[in-house]
């Protein structure tokens, strides 16, 4: 196996045993990016020079006999909505094309602290708005399984880079499924943590009450290790939870015999591809075989989640994105005569169509006369959705559902905004409820990966790793690899 395809756990052993050097590993990933990313185009910025320096520092530590952490020397990359000191951070938007942050996101600091090697910044839907990465201001990213298909989104670059063995892991962000859905489409593992479990400081906001950063990895174990590094309280984020963080890797080996798994019937209703339903049925069988107690359950307000989500998320985004006005940073329409014209033209030119659409929708939902009917109503529906989950978790430890209604679609297949929004129906309720959920490979359909989604109550990421790891070990779907040519080429 190519070393760039190995897991962080394996590579850590190889580094410690001195079978490879961190610099070799980084160089191998950079070479893989050089050759493969011309087509995949997961990266917006590659930080080769800095990466090799970071790797060299890890090699020195190893040579000096110092103990290194599990992520030390491991090549990774960050979604380009995570602020990195001195490294261009664009949110895949023309409006931030040349923006260089003077500060690091907390997660960027944490990973640097852990000794991980940052290879660069990853493509995404502009400002994390989208489900296919087609909304990037800087071009599409391809799905490594089939390059005519989308990688999912908005963390399409984060999933494609990991699936394409360009990096060992990445961090994405998930507001309505933006980690889990691309993980599903690209056949990798993606965790949306509990709201408040990972600091949002430095995550360029789309919808503040829904956004969370999480790891994208090739194995569940790697996911637990990366989560170990980034989870925990941060005084810079007022919504960050102060909690006793366990070592999440300890959950991996736990048996799941007797684990109560609920399968919400609303997630297998119409609109779900039969092949996806098949994968879920097979997963239920796998879990049953492993000794879990699988039962159907109900989340009755599920069908209202999407509408509530789009009102809440866009309302928040309309405010969060107001700061891009051409005054302090980013693009400016310099020819305008007065400030009003300058701001309007800057935003018209700097934002893509989907971002503008969501800003418009959110502005409308908050505007005088419509607030109660749309925004306030949506907040109340959010309460109902949260209550649904509270009730479900009174019975079940984990809920099992599809991550997405379909496999990755072909570029351009969802031109109508609403049809694209409907692609998020399985992931959105989790963000509204603030609970954690993980997507992991559940098999293939038509040569493309299908993810299964596990959800748990707040701060119960441990049980997600436990259940996901057991499934992964029993099925080995995670070892499936895209054809080197990317299928259809």
């Amino acid at each position: 196996m190519d070393i760039t395809a190995r897991s962080a756990v394996e590579l850590h052993t190889m580094l410690v045993e001195k079978e490879i050097q961190a610099q070799e590993l980084t160089a191998a990933c950079l070479e893989k990016i050089r050759t493969d990313d011309q087509e995949i185009r997961a990266f917006l910025t590659v930080t080769a020079e800095q990466a090799l320096k970071q790797a060299a520092a890890v090699d020195q530590k190893i040579a000096a006999g110092e103990k290194i952490g599990l992520l030390a020397g491991i090549p990774m990359a960050l979604k380009d909505n995570i602020s990195t000191l001195g490294i261009r951070t664009t949110c895949a938007s023309k409006i931030l094309e040349s923006y260089i942050p003077p500060y690091d996101a907390t997660v960027a600091e944490q990973l640097a602290q852990a000794g991980s090697v940052l290879l660069g910044k990853l493509n995404m839907d502009e400002f994390a708005m989208g489900s296919s990465t087609e909304n990037s201001g800087f071009g599409k990213t391809c799905n490594p399984w089939n390059r005519k298909h989308v990688p999912g989104g908005s963390s399409g670059g984060a999933a494609a880079a990991v699936a394409g063995d360009e990096v060992v892991f990445s961090l994405g962000s998930d507001t309505g499924g933006s980690i889990r859905q691309p993980a599903s489409f690209c056949g990798v593992v993606g965790l949306k943590p509990t709201y408040g479990a990972v600091s949002r400081y430095g995550l360029i906001a789309y919808a503040s009450s829904l956004d969370q950063i999480g790891p994208v990895t090739r194995t569940v174990a790697d996911n637990a290790h990366v989560f170990n590094a980034i989870a925990g309280h941060d005084a810079k984020d007022s919504t960050s939870i102060a909690f006793d963080k366990p070592d999440y890797s300890q959950f991996l080996q736990r048996e799941i015999k007797g684990l109560k798994i609920g399968v919400p019937r609303e997630y297998l209703a119409e609109g779900i591809d039969p092949e996806v339903k098949r994968v879920i049925r097979e997963a239920i069988q796998t879990y049953t075989d492993l000794g879990a107690l699988v039962e159907e359950c109900s989340l009755p307000h599920t069908k209202y989640a999407l509408a509530a989500y789009y009102l809440i998320a866009t309302a928040e985004c309309s405010s969060n994105l107001a700061r891009y006005d051409g005054v302090r940073y980013g693009l400016r329409a310099a020819e305008a005569e007065d400030i009003l014209g300058m701001v309007k033209q800057t935003r018209a030119r700097g934002f893509g169509a989907e971002v503008k659409r969501r800003i418009m929708l959110g502005t409308y939902a908050l505007s005088s006369g419509y607030y109660d009917a749309y925004y306030l109503k949506a907040l109340k529906v959010r309460t109902l959705i949260k209550q649904d989950f509270d009730q479900a978790f009174a019975q079940a430890d984990v809920l099992l559902a599809p991550t997405a209604p379909t496999t990755a679609w072909a570029f351009g297949a969802k031109a109508d905004p609403l049809s694209m929004y409907l692609a998020d129906i399985c992931t959105i309720p989790v963000n509204l409820a603030g609970i954690p959920a993980i997507s992991l490979p559940g098999g293939l359909a038509g040569g493309l990966p299908v993810g299964i989604q596990l959800m748990a109550k707040p701060l119960a990421e441990g049980v997600l790793f436990q259940a996901a790891h057991a499934f992964e070990q029993a099925t080995a779907f995670h070892t499936l690899k895209p054809a080197p040519t990317g299928g259809a080429l």
């Binding site: 509408a307 107001a322 007065d338 400030i339 009003l340 503008k356 800003i359 907040l379 109340k380 109902l384």
Partner: protein
């Protein structure tokens, strides 16, 4: 129709987005379709339901009143599209 062209133009003004006539038409259609979809929420009786603005029950998160280093003026202005003499320069306001 749940939203009119005039409302879309007003919203675009509130959101400081310059839209072409064609864009106004497109957004009117698309927002109308989305709002039509969102009308599903009207089915739910929510008079008695408390809104959820924050999903986790956190409160009273505060820091001590101590001064920390600011950025240098140079760092503050480094990304500025137009700066002069330590200030951000902006065009005519009124």
């Amino acid at each position: 129709m749940r939203i009119t062209r005039e409302q879309v133009e007003h919203v675009a003004m509130l959101a400081r987005l310059e839209l072409s006539g064609q864009e106004v038409g497109e957004y009117t259609r698309q927002l109308d379709a989305i709002l039509e979809y969102a009308a599903v929420l009207e089915e739910l009786k929510t008079e008695e339901i408390e809104p959820t603005a924050h999903v986790m029950p956190l409160m009273n998160v505060m820091r001590e009143d101590s001064v920390r280093a600011s950025l240098s003026q140079d760092q503050v202005l480094r990304n500025a599209p137009d700066a002069e003499n330590g200030f951000f320069r902006v065009p005519k306001i009124v």
